[in-house]
Symmetry: C2
């Protein structure tokens, strides 16, 4: 049982809600590309999120292939809960490092990540 599961959530839910909160409404395919989630899996995921009232699914009138997914007020509340979990886990993880080392770690990992996203 990871930290998300302990509050009845999952990584996918968090990443999708965070993406919606950050970048606004999007189609399922756009969300998938932002979050690294396959289109196929996004279907069931949005089903769950909308069943719980965290997002709303509506047909895009300008492009009728698409569903526009929008985060709800309840979804933002949920995101806050999950954000708290993430923050707490991060804090526990970085506990052994002083602030200067945390900064350095973030610098190194950021460089690694950016390079990967460029070369792959």
């Amino acid at each position: 049982m990871d930290a998300f599961t302990s509050v009845g959530g999952r990584r996918y839910q968090y990443s999708v809600l965070a993406a919606l909160d950050e970048s606004g409404p999007a189609s399922q395919a756009q969300l998938g590309r932002r979050c690294g989630i396959d289109r196929s899996d996004m279907v069931a995921l949005v089903n769950e999120l909308s069943a719980q009232g965290f997002v709303q699914r509506a047909m895009d009138q300008d492009d009728r292939r698409r569903n526009v997914i929008t985060i709800t007020g309840k979804g933002r509340e949920r995101l806050s809960e999950l954000d708290a979990v993430v923050t707490e886990v991060q804090e526990r993880l970085l506990d052994p490092l002083p602030d200067s080392d945390r900064t350095e770690l973030v610098r190194l990992l950021t460089r690694v990540l950016e390079h990967q996203s460029v070369t792959s």
Copy 2:
């Protein structure tokens, strides 16, 4: 398809073969504890590895509850292949960092890891 899958392997196979190569023959339960793999999953895993000739399963005469799992010559060859894959992936991952930064990254992550294993 990850790097292991691309050569027909899996993480579990790698960790078990590496543990056997490093620490010698062991029971399935011991292997599970070393590698963080559940006993239940170890059964099927050892089945596969022995079917491919990478390990040998024998009854322990001193404790007849146990199977003694031993890596074979073919298993060591397989481990070398997988090691090469791991080394190559690591190299690609750390490509953007100079040697001094790699050392620093290892130091920071080691500290984080050690602290987790102590507190959890």
